[in-house]
Amino acid sequence: MILQSPSTPAPHDRDDASRDSPDSPVNRIANLCTDVPLTLDSGATLGPISVAYQTAGRLNADRSNAILICHALTGDQYVVGTHPVTGKPGWWTGLVGPGKVIDTDRYFIICSNVLGGCQGTTGPKDINPATGKPWGLEFPVLTIGDMVRAQATLLDHLGIGTLFCVIGGSMGAMQALQWAVTFPDRQRACVAIAGSWRHSAQNIAFHEVGRQAIMADPDWRGGDYPNQGTIPKRGLAVARMTAHITYLSEPALHRKFGRKLHDREKVTYGFDADFQVESYLRHQGASFVQRFDANSYLYITRAMDYFDLAADHDGVLARAFSGNPVRFCLVSFSSDWLFPTGESRAIVRAMTAAAANVSFVEVSTDKGHDAFLLDEPEFHDTLSGFLDGVAKLAGSTP
């Protein structure tokens, strides 16, 4: 057993088969908030909750080498190893592992499926104990803050007081920043990649298009589809297709597809997928619905829309960071038009005004928002340099 829990692991913790090798990630589910439910930002309460999480590496003796990785909107806890649903490698296999940028020989990695998610953490597809049926739209609306508090209860459960670092990209960056603001004394460092301090009007607009696509699908059934035996696959696929465009960039799409035709010599004068880019998007949509729940998509996009770190500080972002002891690193990508560099720069300005310790790098790439998931050497060098710097400052080489 790699995990050193202070108490005997709860009997309802579920191990998977992959822990026979010490280098394999461990996937488990923790039942939390069993005594006191989680109070959400909306005022509603939720509990007990399940939190599905993955760990990799070893927690050191003084429990000082834990890194919490926060996943993005459609990500999950399967950072490394093989994804049990898709059979594909974990979403950050390129960055996380023995000897890699986030080195599991040095650090103990934790990543949990967000509250409202659909990979084992409590979400709208789970059973509402009050009715004995899946929650559907009865599930309370969540915020990024709620997700972060659920993660904090998981850390309590694991007996981890202070994190070495919280790292996240996109919605994960929102969580990482929220972590630093909510629990400034519970982490040494914070890495927010391709993120923002609040969701922009344009991004709320894109999310609304996705939600409307889901809700327009007759199989959505007012959100009650789990009880009516349908799945709003078409709506969810369209939501994914729209969103997927925002994760790329015009140059990247052009480089990959141009105007190339799909399996044909000339256009068919019809509405079949003539172009490769159409066929690619259809594939993205179709494979997404195999692993994601439509109602989860509604709830998680809503949580992102509601995110505004300045709102709780009279609209002054700098106040969110005043006196904050966390060492911050912000990274943006030059061709990211979903979370453009200007968003990160605004956070840097606020942190600077608050005399917080911040590093900021814009990585030159044409790969758009998704660059944080891809092989970007400049980004990887920045991140490993930053983590080394924090380790040096902490006077420890975990």
Binding site: V348, V361, D381, G385, G389
Partner: protein
């Protein structure tokens, strides 16, 4: 704008700047390049350092070596920093490349209690000779770029700088006259010889008390 050094050892003029910094202090290095000085200050003087650098390549290199550096412009972004956030603000070989050197100096002594400023002396004899004898803008190993290529837009002499400090009620606590290699010379930085013989000057400044 900054002469480069590929030997790996810290440039001599940077070492002189580092020697002016008290141990354990908070330092802002404006135009920190790849963080050579900040890394030296961190490793030898236990300094809590931050950097601001215009070039992204410089910022990436600095962050990669574990320094806290942000991409930014001394002309516009110093105003983001709160008053007295640092013990020292350092501007090494960058003053002459700023759009409004006077405003930058004001900011340095607003965000920090002391400023350390180094810059090339345009009245150095070699530059004078270039202008008088050859009628051409000076180009040397120390300032290697042609007039149309140089980022240096506000050249001044040591005397000019002293005058500006006087006008701005800035106290010069310490001054060093350096040769082109960055080595300190025997003559005083505020003397008449320095304005001819010094290739560059380094000054430790603080807010004056009109006297």
């Amino acid at each position: 704008m900054t002469p480069t050094n590929s030997t790996g050892a810290i440039r001599y003029d940077l070492k002189l700047i580092a020697d002016m910094v008290d141990r354990g202090s908070r330092v802002l290095d404006v135009g920190c390049g790849e963080g050579e000085l900040l890394a030296h200050l961190r490793d030898t003087r236990d300094v809590d350092g931050r950097g601001i650098e215009l070039s992204m390549a410089g910022v990436r290199a600095a962050v990669t070596r574990g320094l806290s550096v942000i991409q930014g412009d001394a002309n516009t972004d110093l105003s983001d920093f709160p008053d007295h956030a640092f013990d020292y603000a350092i501007l090494s070989q960058t003053l002459q490349a700023t759009e409004r050197p006077r405003a930058v100096l004001e900011h340095l002594l607003r965000v920090a209690d002391r400023a350390i400023v180094s810059f090339p002396n345009f009245a150095h004899w070699r530059g004078r000779w270039h202008l008088i004898a050859r009628g051409r803008m000076p180009v040397s190993d120390y300032l290697p770029l042609q007039w149309w290529d140089t980022p240096n837009i506000h050249f001044c002499t040591l005397l000019d700088f002293r005058q500006l400090c006087q006008d701005m009620d800035i106290r010069v606590e310490k001054g060093l006259a350096l040769n082109e290699q960055g080595h300190p010379q025997w003559f005083a930085a505020d003397g008449p010889l320095a304005n001819i013989l010094a290739a560059q000057g380094v000054f430790l400044l603080s807010k004056g008390t009109s006297s």
